[in-house]
């Protein structure tokens, strides 16, 4: 279903090549930093499935991301489990179950209600971890070890190796992109977009609208959980701020900045947003003021985000070619 404009595909391919070769010369700090951006791109892409395709504007998406971080933290620190073969399914499973529960309550509503209910339910998860004495409370906690991938005595993958981890994040991002593209081109995806366009009609046609929405919600939550797992492995730190509504608003902003309903938009959005924040934060102590103005400008002037700009540029380009 997603139509990737040609210019975007070209840019995406170029970007992918750049990302693939970056570790060859990049400084270790930036390898780590770009890994973070790719994790956020994955996180934002999962939200795009809800916002851009299913028409479900969730303001609680960070709950699944943060929950996965805490599941990893809990298993590593409290149970001494470090095998990625346990940690990854546990993190994804917890995110999926939470998404099913929160989704089940939320999808009974639409529009403004949906926004507020997802926000409020995610805050509930936030306060749960916020108040846990054993889990570091507001301070958060260091995760004692990164995940390990062992086959017998053979180390298959080293999470401590920044370059290896970088390629893992890149691989997950590409895989999620392909997976979502496939899903959206399937009948399921067509139905989802149909529901967004005209829910009443789809219902009249006999579709179980709620079921489709819930499945989309769970897929998105699980992918957010994957991003959370990666972030836990990268930063080895769990804090309630990972699940707060500011984080949810932040990732929503990334989706809009990049262009919702495009899948590749959130990737661009994550790069632009995080690099910008990084730049402004070192430029001035008042950087949040700049970010606020930036957010408002994007909302007012670029409702289709960067993807919208690219589409327009692409259209102009094609028209130019046709004329000549």
């Amino acid at each position: 279903m997603p139509h990737h404009p040609r210019i975007a595909l070209a840019l995406l391919a170029l970007g992918a090549v750049f990302l693939a070769v970056f570790p060859l010369w990049g400084d270790t700090f930036y390898i780590r930093f770009i890994a973070r951006i790719m994790i956020f791109a994955l996180f934002a892409m999962s939200l795009d499935l809800l916002v851009g395709y299913a028409g479900l504007v969730s303001l609680g998406h960070a709950a699944f991301f943060g929950l996965a971080v805490y599941v990893v933290a809990g298993l590593v620190n409290k149970a001494g489990v470090t095998s990625a073969f346990v940690l990854l399914p546990a993190a994804l499973g917890a995110a999926a179950i939470a998404a099913a529960a929160i989704g089940w309550i939320s999808i009974r509503t639409t529009g403004v209600y949906f926004i507020m209910i997802t926000l409020a339910l995610a805050q509930m998860v936030y306060y749960f971890f916020h108040d846990q004495k054993e889990w570091g409370g507001t301070d958060g906690m260091n995760i004692d070890s990164k995940p390990t991938v062992m086959l017998g005595d053979l180390k298959l993958f080293d999470f401590y190796d920044r370059v290896q981890f970088y390629y893992l994040a890149l691989g997950c991002l590409v895989a999620a992109f392909v997976l979502l593209t496939v899903i959206l081109r399937s009948p399921f995806g067509h139905t989802l977009v149909g529901i967004r366009a005209n829910e009443g009609r789809m219902r009249a046609l006999g579709y179980d609208v709620q079921r489709y929405k819930l499945i989309a919600f769970v897929i998105a939550g699980t992918l957010a959980g994957l991003a959370g797992f990666l972030e836990a492995a990268r930063a080895t730190f769990a804090t309630p701020a990972h699940l707060g509504w500011h984080e949810s608003g932040h990732v929503l902003m990334i989706v809009i900045l990049g262009g919702m309903g495009t899948l590749f938009g959130p990737i661009l959005g994550a790069f632009v947003m995080l690099l910008m924040e990084d730049y402004f934060a070192t430029l001035t102590e008042r950087w949040l003021l700049i970010m606020g103005v930036f957010v408002i400008l994007v909302v007012m002037l670029l409702p289709d985000g960067i993807a919208g700009v690219l589409r327009r540029v692409g259209r102009l380009g094609r028209r130019g070619a046709g004329d000549g």
């Binding site: 509503t109 403004v112 926000l119 409020a120 509930m124 916020h130 929503l252 909302v299 007012m300």
Partner: protein
């Protein structure tokens, strides 16, 4: 739990509920009538508190501070609607969410820029200072009781405005039948501007009159915003009556949550909300979705 203890805790809950209602009423009004979701509602609450504190410092009078800061916040609300929100009605709620999210960042930073990082206290105006003894050990501040009555007065005024006045009729009609109201010659644009201004003023007013008991500090709008959301969701979006009942439910649940379930108090309010939603997804007094 003795009876007097139970009654005082109930009083605490109800009193907290009144304050929540005052903040949530503006939020639900703007939702219900304009269909606009305003995340910056808490930030306006903070603006009100800071203005009240600043004017009180300058003039030495809390009443004068109220009279001076209220028009400022109304103007702020009107301007926000006129120059920004107005262009977002036709768009998805998403853009309203993000616009007001950006507004929070700006208002929070401006507050720091203008007033600094310090925490401030506002003295309670002299006639309302002092406390009434409740038990041999505990007294109740007169100002809190005054707060409750103010909230009741605002609730009554809002109810009368919406249900009994011509303006209220138009507002009610405008929320459901926009085209018809404008066909009858009412200026919908101006109407919405007024409603948004009123919503902002309510948030700011809550910040102002709560300032003497609440202290004034950076980021104070954040916490109140989320809890107001919960109130509005429980009560049913757009319903003033719902906001009132929701505020009471939250106030009492929060207070008794702290007393009876000290380890999980933070989650109690949200659990109550989830239960209400399971039973009625549109909230207690919401129209069906």
């Amino acid at each position: 739990m003795s009876l007097s203890y139970f009654l005082i805790q109930t009083l605490n809950g109800v009193q907290y509920g009144f304050l929540l209602f005052l903040v949530a009423s503006g939020l639900t009004l703007v939702f219900g009538i304009m269909g606009v979701i305003n995340l910056a509602h808490g930030a306006f609450y903070m603006v009100g508190a800071y203005l009240a504190w600043w004017f009180a410092e300058q003039t030495g009078s809390f009443v004068l501070a109220l009279l001076l800061s209220l028009p400022v916040t109304v103007l702020l609300g009107l301007a926000t609607e006129r120059f920004a929100i107005r262009y977002l009605y036709a768009r998805d709620h998403l853009y309203q969410v993000l616009f007001t999210y950006g507004l929070i960042l700006i208002l929070n930073e401006l507050q720091r820029l203008l007033f600094g990082n310090d925490v401030h206290g506002l003295p309670i105006p002299a006639p309302l200072a002092g406390s009434i003894p409740l038990t041999e050990a505990q007294s109740y501040p007169i100002y809190r009781i005054f707060l409750s009555f103010t909230c009741i007065a605002v609730a009554a005024a809002l109810y009368l405005l919406i249900q009994r006045t011509r303006l209220g009729m138009v507002i009610r009609a405008g929320s459901t039948h926009r085209e018809m109201v404008s066909a009858l010659g009412f200026d919908i644009a101006r109407l919405f501007m007024v409603v948004f201004g009123l919503g902002v003023a309510l948030a700011a007013f809550a910040g102002m009159i709560a300032a003497p008991v609440n202290t004034v500090y950076p980021g104070m709008g954040d916490h109140i915003l989320i809890i107001s959301f919960v109130v509005v969701v429980i009560g049913g979006i757009g319903s003033i009556k719902g906001a009132f009942v929701g505020a009471m439910v939250v106030g009492i649940a929060d207070t008794f949550g702290r007393v009876l379930l000290p380890t999980g108090a933070g989650v109690v309010v949200y659990a109550v909300m989830a239960l209400v939603l399971l039973w009625r997804p549109q909230g207690l007094f919401g129209r069906t979705v």
